[in-house]
Symmetry: C2
């Protein structure tokens, strides 16, 4: 580890806009966080100049916010065009990525054209991958409209699409020019999506910051009620932790793996149920319960800590029990989970690597026997 | 310009294997050049380790060399799999890229799997783009089997596929782990492909090295007869010049543009005739004649120099007269060319940028009036 994470500082009731810097040399960028910051011209200052901007959004978010974003950026770009994708993880595929390329080509986009990703993680991943690969790379700006995207997917440069054989199988590491997190978008965010986003916020506790986890637990009411003062702190701290991890490991060679706490199990749930049935954050929540249980059984974590975390997840409306996955014939549930985890990107030569919670320390990555993992899965499944 | 190009040194009759280093920090790599070097175990030492290697080739090159490459690498990888694409630029598209992803997923490739691109530029670009985007990046090795790929496309990290609206519209900058140029493959290379490769070799003269151009002119017989002693020098020097350019401008922000000498016109020819009708090197050859003519008319180059270069291109069997492009209705030829050039990746906000040959200097990039360019095109077309 090359640098220590700065300690968590919370300022209750302080709703001033915040900025978090991601240090990646020539690819460094800022995350701007605040309530109503789209309306502040400063938010858009200093972005790459171009003859055209293309807003990439979806048919849920577009009607709510496209006009607002267009108003905010149109003084910076002579021409602003928009492409609208169908909403949902089920459409995060090459066929729909083509819609972005087609829009770029139809509007004669050049190598300077700036893409604005207006939406959740799916829009961000797809617009980011289009930006990474159109003419071998054009600039893009993340304008995340979900909590999940603000604290996780829009930060760190992961872009891509799904393949029938696996999630995010095709993609690139490609950094945005800026991430703009306006918390006012949460006013239109459905409860289920909001809770799914909180799963990723809560994740930052186990992986790196027990003090933050304690603070979240103490402010659970503010989280439930979407209190702007609590959210600005929660989003800012989440981004700080992610920035700290990403700055040390841009391309996921080491430390970055800890961001996948709960995700190995979670991806198996998402894939096993069929993409879109369980939201990513929901799979991660149930997956984090499994990862915590594994950590307890490996002797890395007191059982009480795992139980406290599980009830915090539950109190913000997240699932904490894994679903039984559709299976053909007599295959055992644990086997279905294990088979799905073995084709996960994070597996190496068929060996599954788990992120484990280590009490009072930064999380670690290790393998575990199929027997132990099967026991953990059975203990965390609905019966 | 941060560093000067080292002067050209030729050692006639010296066929010892050569190595050219591409300095790109953590993404640095070597190009190994020599006759019969596949058979030398040293050639394959030090490549990334993995449980599996995937050879990507096509149905022309595969039957000739796949077994030989497999023999060479199988002691390094427990498992070697192969995917065979249909040969030709016409298949350089997303649909065929999927064949590589499908092979990777079918064989349970992980993040360490090494791709070997065995073939010409199309295979290299596609395998490279698959490597750049499979699980957001796995290592790959270029094993170019055409002269064009050895001196140009396999060096520098450009990868991608075509889109119906333009060549290489979708792609990424992604560096290989090594480039292995075995000159013995030229024994099976058709005359037309060999000549097309020489177009890119000859290009390095105008853009950066008049001494090299003089040497090529003096050794035109050796080039025509595929003399190994001449070729090892020609390939090595071509790679040195490309390495010098790429090291200073990995992502094509400035100097790298000079590598596109003749390519703006050439891409218009390729696209206008329909991909595959004219080989890339053939379009570039006729395009370089146009770019030279433009340089003369801009007062940057003596007419005799342009004439000498044109006859050198001709003497190695390359086309030096542009084709009349298929057109609907009354559209003038020059207009057809201009329209095609305006959608080229190198155009910015509809403005076409031309690489020009500057006598005794490194090439430059500039715009020119449509009238002047139209005159140049008319002067260089078949009538």
């Amino acid at each position: 580890m090359t640098s220590a994470l700065t300690p968590f500082q919370s300022n209750h009731f302080d709703t001033t806009p915040q900025s978090v810097h991601i240090e990646l040399g020539a690819r460094s960028y800022d995350i701007r966080i605040g309530h109503g910051i789209w309306a502040d011209p400063q938010t858009w200052q200093g972005l790459p100049k171009a003859a055209m901007a293309l807003i990439v959004t979806n048919d849920t978010v577009g009607p709510l916010y496209e006009a607002q974003l267009r108003d905010a950026i149109q003084s910076h770009y002579p021409r602003v065009e928009t492409v609208v994708l169908p909403d949902g993880e089920a459409h995060k595929d090459w066929q729909h990525l083509q819609l972005i390329f087609d829009a770029l080509l139809t509007h004669h986009a050049d190598r300077k054209t700036v893409l604005f990703a207006l939406g959740g993680g799916v829009v961000g991943d797809m617009a980011g991958f289009a930006a990474a690969t159109y003419m071998r790379g054009v600039p893009f700006v993340q304008v995340p409209t979900t909590l999940l995207a603000q604290v996780d997917s829009s930060v760190g440069g992961k872009t891509g699409v799904n393949h029938p054989a696996g999630k995010n199988m095709i993609g690139a590491f490609y950094q945005p020019s800026r991430v703009i997190c306006d918390l006012s978008v949460f006013e239109t965010l459905p409860d289920r999506e909001y809770a799914a986003g909180l799963a990723e916020v809560l994740k930052y506790g186990p992986i790196a910051d027990v003090a933050f986890l304690d603070w979240l637990e103490a402010n659970v009411l503010g989280l439930q009620q979407r209190d702007p003062g609590v959210l600005v702190q929660a989003v800012r701290r989440s981004c700080e932790i992610k920035a700290w991890v990403v700055a040390q490991d841009e391309r996921e060679g080491g430390l970055r793996a800890i961001l996948n706490f709960g995700h190995t199990f979670g991806h198996a749930i998402e894939a096993g149920m069929g993409y879109g049935e369980w939201l990513h954050g929901e799979g991660v929540a149930a997956g984090m319960v499994m990862a915590s249980e594994l950590s307890v059984r490996l002797g890395l974590l007191p059982a009480e800590q795992a139980a406290r975390f599980k009830s915090l997840l539950q109190s913000v409306g997240l699932p904490v029990i894994g679903p039984r996955l559709p299976t053909s014939g007599d295959t055992q549930q644990a086997q279905v989970y294990l088979d799905l985890m073995r084709v996960d990107k994070k597996a190496e030569a068929g060996e599954i690597r788990f992120v484990v919670w280590r009490d009072q320390q930064v999380a670690g990555v290790q393998t575990a026997s199929d027997e132990l993992v099967a026991d953990v899965i059975h203990a965390c499944l609905s019966h």
